[in-house]
Symmetry: C2
Subunit: 357 residues, 2 copies
């Protein structure tokens, strides 16, 4: 069985402003460790997948930065989208590349900017998932057992009774994908026990992916065939024209929500999508007063703060539950429970045509 | 009448850390306007006193910086203390220099780092004060009508009934200097009406100063004579040895508290000693939500903050009554009512032998 990891490394994060910028999205930041998130993502795969089988996909503006951070990957493994068009086009392209080499290649479509606290368990699940994807006409998705009634994730409703073990791990048939719910619905999902968060991490065999597209996403199938054709002929113009036409949809919306034969596997390996600054508060080490500080610190009567200011001294005096981020040309001081507003700041900066983005 | 301004420009501020440093005390900071405080101090004197009669006094480590900021003053006007030994030795030296040129010179001893909101009124008072000092055997001090029962200033108790007008302004005989009081005493001083804050700004004729020293500070008088002698002979070594011996006392403690014949004049010209970061909140312009920001800002649901971060964008989200100061290598985040703790930070940094001082 041939497993190919495809790391989706495009997209520009806005929720880690002022650190994340157009040209420096979240996956390039050293926010969960001393390495960037994309380096962590690759490093945790290495015990299972060799560098020649680890690919990234992003638009061309990121290629140089990605190659710089991941020098052990072959240069041809940095796949380039002609245009950034959401995850459906991007994963179709990455899968098409694999299909042309070996239609039975198992693709592990992974995010570049997720945190996984238990990488060994993750690799076990990944291996079992690959086996499940390889052995039948099905797509595998990692679902995260919900830790609280989040209204920020999509959910996957599955049939627990029809679970089966593959490679030692349980897999359940997916009944339905649910969009981000309201609070009441989220509480119902949590209480029900048969809902997982959608992690956005998938496994499929390239030929199975093609079959599912033809059957459940018929609008996309001709575009898939044109991609294959353009790739075979190394026709960059042709590939670009596909990307100009293709709907910019997520793979969830384009295919997963419609497809039959999707299995979910519990992603109970300490997953976090590190969605905003405050999520790092659970990741970074805390001092006695419960402050998480990257950089030198001097703390007087202060609790619960998260500070990112490497290379400088931050003095906190009598403050509580603040997020402080120094990004050189800009500084964020934010109440910790209001970090969702960081997106608003980015919107305002865009409208005002300001730098700092 | 010859008036000579002597601006006390030594001392290293600690209350404006992280902006103020050993080599960059408060008077060098652009915290009240776009110019440094020492530049403001000199500029407000110019309508009355020409540059040739404006002197600074500080220890030698500051001379280059002072000359750089005040290029219009003659080079010889930057007086140098052989050692930094508090204000009594420093003002004795500055007065001795004037005495040797003209014993009847009136010295206006001024601080380098005070804010004066009404400079015209200040100059009128200064002129009247110089007249008062020149015409009799007396020292003049500016007293600040107290705005609240401060426990942070010394007070001057004066005899209102014996006031007299000189140069159009009222002067009152000083009864007693009071050290920084407790809260109850401060409230009594305020209610009484015959107490002013000690501004630390004085006027005296050089020869009168000498006479007062001989009579009321007899331990200092021989040192004064040795200063005169060393200055006359340009004996730097001799001057240094005086500074090595002389008690490091304030002029208030060494002379003023003991002297008779001291008049106080109301310094009702919008004075502030700008004692700590929060005092700037009353000086800087406020936005609609009551934030005072030096630098570019983006404010969401935030009130009452004071931000010094010139040259960068500061985004405030849901925060209230904070002091935020970015000094490049260090960052202060402090509850606005706790800015007195900044001194504690400096003490801690000293003990830990850290840079950032």
């Amino acid at each position: 069985m041939n497993i190919r990891a495809v790391i989706m490394a495009g997209g520009s994060g806005t929720r880690f402003w002022p650190l994340s910028r157009r040209t420096r999205p979240k996956q390039f930041l050293d926010i969960v460790s001393s390495r960037s998130m994309i380096e962590e993502t690759v490093a945790r795969l290495l015990p299972l997948i060799s560098p020649k089988d680890i690919f990234t996909i992003a638009d061309g503006s990121q290629t140089a930065a990605l190659r710089g951070l991941l020098p052990d990957l072959p240069k041809r493994n940095f796949l380039v989208e002609p245009l950034a068009r959401n995850t459906a086009p991007s994963l179709m392209l990455a899968t098409a590349c694999a299909y042309l080499q070996d239609p039975e290649t198992v693709i592990a479509a992974l995010a570049a900017d997720h945190l996984i606290r238990d990488p060994d368990r993750f690799l076990n699940k990944l291996q079992a998932g690959a086996k499940a994807a390889h052995s039948g006409d099905r797509i595998v998705i990692f679902g995260i057992p919900p830790a609280f009634p989040s209204t920020g994730y999509g959910y996957i409703h599955f049939l627990r009774e029809k679970g089966k073990r593959i490679g030692g791990e349980p897999f359940f048939p997916v009944l339905e994908f649910k969009e981000k719910p309201g609070r009441a619905e989220a509480e119902h999902f949590l209480a029900d026990g048969n809902y997982y968060w959608n992690s956005g991490m998938f496994l499929w065999r390239a030929d199975v992916f093609a079959r599912k597209l033809r059957r459940y996403a018929p609008k996309f199938f001709p575009l898939w065939e044109r991609m294959l054709d353009a790739l075979e002929k190394k026709n960059q113009k042709g590939l670009r024209s596909v990307f100009e036409e293709i709907p910019a949809l997520s793979i969830d919306y384009a295919l997963m929500e419609k497809a039959k034969g999707v299995l979910v596997c519990a992603g109970d390996f300490g997953w976090s999508d590190v969605g905003a600054w405050s999520s790092l508060y659970d990741v970074w080490p805390l001092d006695e007063a419960g402050n998480a500080v990257k950089g030198e610190k001097l703390v007087l009567d202060s609790q619960g703060c998260l500070v990112y200011a490497p290379g400088k001294l931050t003095a906190l005096v009598g403050v509580k539950d603040l997020i402080v981020v120094d990004a050189g040309d800009s500084l964020l001081i934010c109440r910790k429970d209001l970090d969702q507003k960081v997106k608003d700041i980015v919107e305002i900066l865009k409208k005002e045509n300001k730098k700092y983005l």
